[in-house]
């Protein structure tokens, strides 16, 4: 397990009038090298949960174990700097954290802080740019002059430049256009599949992540409402409604088609292409004579 939480609670502003418990007795495990999606309604504690993963927040109750570092509530935690290099945390709107006058300097900021030499940092910066699918010509540009999508990717690259084993992203696709969104998600998937990094993505749009995620964690009011694979989620989508989330289109289509053709036991096809392929391969699919009744198939 890359990350293991045992009975973790987190309370903001403990001992004051503004005390607010954001997480209640969370127990979860995230395996190494997996791609995990975290979803939940606004205020369900997603962002708080992420900040526990690299020790920005320390649990007020319970135990957080990340890689080989253990943080227990009430105990003095070990030095967290090495952990932060290994767990890259990308906050919402990461482009807002850029401050240097060139993209390269901004990308080198993390590696230098973690004690890499300037040459090594530059090398890491170049590698991170390529991993995010950015042109190396952008390195000398001012980050404030990039387009929104480029800026977002550059900011994510500035975290990847630290060469983290675990990458945690809070709504990385928010406010991006559909093309950039799809690109970003597929780049993140490559990081997971090709380089074996553990990727954790918080998202509001389950649709874009459903085909790729190995596991899902759903939060409701600071508690875990569901933990398991996308397939299990496809089998019981009602859980989504209970968490205040809409059922993603891809899941609705799959449910419709699986129900119609008795495919409930199969692995869900959640991309338009794979679903179309399946429909085409179905014996007699074209002979029902009422194709419009299945309406809405992408």
């Amino acid at each position: 397990m890359a990350i293991q939480l045992e009975q973790v609670s987190y309370t903001y502003a403990d001992n004051s009038l503004w005390k607010q418990t954001a997480l209640h007795e969370i127990t979860l495990g995230i395996p190494k090298g997996s791609l995990t999606g975290i979803a939940g309604a606004t205020g369900s504690g997603k962002s708080t949960l992420l900040q526990l993963f690299n020790g920005i927040l320390k649990p007020t109750q319970g135990t957080v174990q990340v890689l080989d570092v253990t943080m227990r509530a009430g105990e003095k935690s070990p030095k967290l700097l090495p952990l932060r290099r290994r767990v890259g945390l990308v906050f919402q709107f990461p482009e807002q954290q850029m401050f240097e006058d060139t993209v390269e300097k901004d990308l080198c900021f993390g590696p230098l802080n973690f004690g890499m030499s300037p040459e090594e940092a530059k090398e890491r910066a170049r590698k991170a740019m390529l991993e995010m699918g950015l042109d190396l010509g952008l390195l000398t540009r001012n980050p404030f002059r990039l387009s929104g999508g480029q800026m977002r990717k550059a900011a994510i690259a500035s975290v990847l430049a630290m060469d983290p084993e675990i990458v945690v992203l809070d709504e990385p696709t928010a406010t991006l256009d559909p093309v950039s969104r799809a690109e970003l998600i597929s780049q993140l998937e490559r990081l997971c599949r090709e380089q074996g990094r553990t990727i954790i993505i918080v998202t509001h749009r389950m649709d874009e992540l459903l085909p790729y995620a190995d596991r899902w964690i759903l939060l409701k009011d600071g508690k875990i409402a569901f933990q398991g694979s996308g397939g299990e989620l496809a089998a019981d989508p009602d859980i989504l409604a209970r968490c205040g989330l809409g059922v993603p289109h891809s899941l609705r289509y799959w449910r419709g088609i699986a129900g119609r053709f008795g495919l409930a036991g199969e692995k869900p096809r959640l991309t338009p292409e794979s679903l179309a392929e399946l429909i085409a391969s179905l014996p007699g699919a074209g002979t029902s004579g009422r194709p419009e009744e299945e309406g809405g198939c992408p």
């Binding site: 903001y12 502003a13 004051s16 009038l17 503004w18 900040q51 690299n54 920005i56 030095k79 967290l80 700097l81 932060r84 290099r85 890259g88 945390l89 906050f91 919402q92 990461p94 807002q96 954290q97 850029m98 401050f99 900021f109 993390g110 802080n113 973690f114 404030f144 500035s158 975290v159 630290m162």
Partner: protein
Amino acid sequence: MNERLLLGRSIETGSWVHKLDARSKLTGMLLYVAVILLSDSWPSMALLAAFSIAVMASTRIPLKYFIKAAKPLRYLMLFIFIVQLLSVKAGDVLWSAGSFSLHEGGLRLAAFSVIRMLFLITFTALLTFTTTPGKLNQGLEGILSPFKKLGLSPDRITLMISIALRFIPTILDEAQIIMKAQASRGADLQELPLKEKARMLVSLLVPVISSAFRRAQDLVYSMEARGFRMDAPRSRYHRLRWGAADTVFVAMFVIMGVAVALL
């Protein structure tokens, strides 16, 4: 999130002070300042303390929150105490060493200044604790409205104040997120030695300032898009209402002033 910052935070308990008109509270506070400055003897200080604590307690907000409000100024109070103690040479000599001496009058004045300052801060915290910034602003506008005749624009002043107050928590929250983001990139301000801290401050200030400018720009655009015009006659969702309780509240301070002046 930020426990230490009590400025502009109201604490709702629904007490009678909460329900007062913001104008009466503002007037009360001004009178309170006058009362504090008038009181210059131990009996009047005692009366003032009893009165202040009684009013604070009647808000049903725990007293420790009032004390917390004064905490950031504890060193300033100490400084004032020492300066007064050393500089005032009146009354009997309490203690002397060579040409250096401490006087009874100095000690008294020093104690008075600190007590005055303490009550000034804790008591005026009552205003922000019991009044939401919006209502406070409206009250301020009400109090400043006579200045319209002098060609001053109370709207302008209160708009400035309300924008400033409104954005303090927003910008603080944002600064906190950027601080966390930079900490995730290995620049933890809490863990670094002092020399490094100064360098890291740039990584915090540049993003915070650039986003403050962006916010200001957005605010201007959205106000213009809604046709906002300075000093235009405007109707209000909440009306200010002066009730009997408000008169009582202000009268309390007047009576306190008279009592203190007589003592």
